[in-house]
């Protein structure tokens, strides 16, 4: 099922990119809506610690900063038990390759906070422990980086890599970065509203 799902997503990507060469794209300028509370993108994401499948919305300001909120679900067959989670991301876009009117590739870095409302996890240490005995187990921050590829005027594909705070110990201890043992890649699709 995992391979099938990935194949479907990659096929969708290939289909989208196959239309690029022939068309000029006008990119919707985001962040200029009258109502600042209305999100300017809808997002779905696969992996990168947001869930097997995550969906949510995002805000972007002045082409440089974005905040995304995603609800994610990972079924039991992929996680041992079903995991529900929320991911809040703060992304900073660090330049762009390409112009506004054509396909653009925008690298970004950011921070995310993952939260799971699971009864075995806690935000505040339960009463049987001394105060401050453990940090919150229901929350895991992560460093994220990625590339957003605008493939149509209202569609962007994101390739993301996320490293949890708890995974940084591996890089610190081994003095190198080993993607086999730390971090997770992911794929997202962003529809501009």
């Amino acid at each position: 099922m995992k391979i099938l799902s990935l194949s479907v997503m990659l096929f969708a990507l290939l289909f989208q990119t196959s239309t690029l060469a022939a068309q000029e794209i006008t990119v919707l300028k985001r962040g200029e809506r009258d109502n600042p509370w209305v999100p300017n993108s809808a997002i779905t994401q696969h992996a990168a610690y947001a869930g097997y499948l995550a969906a949510g919305f995002g805000y972007e300001w002045r082409d440089t900063w974005a905040v995304d909120l995603l609800y994610g679900y990972t079924p039991e067959e992929f996680a041992g038990e079903a995991v529900h989670s929320w991911t809040l991301k703060s992304l900073a876009y660090i330049g762009a390759v390409g112009s506004r009117d054509v396909v653009r590739v925008r690298p970004y870095v950011g921070l995310s906070i993952n939260y799971s409302p699971d009864s075995e996890l806690f935000l505040q240490v339960p009463s049987q422990y001394p105060a401050g005995y453990y940090p919150a187990s229901a929350v895991r921050p992560a460093l994220i980086g990625g590339l957003e590829v605008r493939v149509q005027s209202q569609l962007a594909i994101g390739f993301e890599f996320a490293v949890l705070d708890s995974e940084l110990a591996y890089a610190t201890d081994s003095k190198n970065f080993d993607p086999e043992y730390m971090g997770s890649s992911g794929l997202s699709v962003r529809w501009l509203l």
Partner: protein, 261 residues
């Protein structure tokens, strides 16, 4: 350019690990039921006789490469019969930390046996430990010595079951648990009961982790040696040698044990 960027991104995507959630709890199949697998290997070992030496380590959480280096170091020795890991393989009870520890320990050419630590039980850690290793309490024999692997993480698992310890210990026993018998997790009356169980059983030794950087490593109580293994960080571990006359000797090791203290 566009196509190249896309293909590069796809390559990165497939090259890097794909993980869905920090709270996944299903270990990879080659890292399941390790206790049973290791006990089977231990039981097949020939010449179980005195004296024999065991490598003992504790609290490898947060230093997965140091754990790997220690295992590699032990692999270069010829005198170690098996390895005891006295809990806290993880900091947050997360699957990726368990995988780091499991992969490092699987490098060992001698069997390794573990007890669960308090940090291992955070989040979904109990479930992961249970699948990856097995029972939280168990015993095994080597050369007639009974190694008692005891879960005494009271905050995480509820009040410590001293009656289990009482039932399984005897004069051939070496008790291994994460939490040592000092007032910390347990109250003084619980410590008194614990020491009394050990005294009445006349155990050979009591080995622990959890506080390897905070208090003196070894002491005697009612003629029984108690030992708290140093935290593994910095590639530290210990060698414990069991002799036929029930005496036990301890060596502190760092790196390849060239600097015994």
């Amino acid at each position: 350019m566009k196509t190249a960027s896309f293909l590069l991104s796809c390559a990165l995507l497939t090259a890097c690990g794909e993980r869905y959630s920090p709270w996944e709890s299903d270990p990879p199949s080659h890292l399941k039921n390790l206790t049973a697998e290791q006990l089977s290997a231990l039981n097949e070992m020939p010449e179980q006789s005195f004296p024999f030496t065991v490598a003992v380590m504790g609290d490898p959480q947060g230093t997965p490469k140091d754990l790997q280096r220690v295992v590699d170091s032990i692999n270069r020795r010829t005198d170690v019969k098996f390895i005891l890991v006295l809990g806290d393989l993880t900091d947050y009870g997360l699957l990726h930390e368990y995988v780091w520890a499991g992969e490092a320990l699987k490098r060992s050419r001698v069997p390794f046996l573990t007890v669960v630590g308090n940090h291992d039980a955070i989040a979904h850690g109990k479930q992961i430990y249970n699948q990856m290793f097995g029972a939280f309490d168990y015993t095994f024999d080597y050369a007639g010595v009974k190694f008692v692997m005891w879960n005494n993480n009271q905050f995480e698992f509820g009040e410590t079951d001293f009656s289990w310890l009482e039932r399984v210990t005897d004069s051939r026993s070496v008790v291994n648990s994460h939490v040592p018998p000092v007032v910390d997790v347990h109250t003084q009356p619980q410590i008194d009961r614990w020491l009394d169980v050990n005294r009445r059983a006349d155990i050979i030794a009591s080995l622990h982790g959890h506080r390897g950087t905070q208090i003196d490593n070894g002491w005697q109580e009612n003629g029984i040696p108690y030992y708290i293994v140093p935290k593994l960080s910095g590639r530290r571990y210990s060698l414990v040698t069991f002799h036929e006359d029930r005496s036990v000797s301890f060596q502190y090791c760092r790196d390849d044990c060239g600097e015994l203290q």
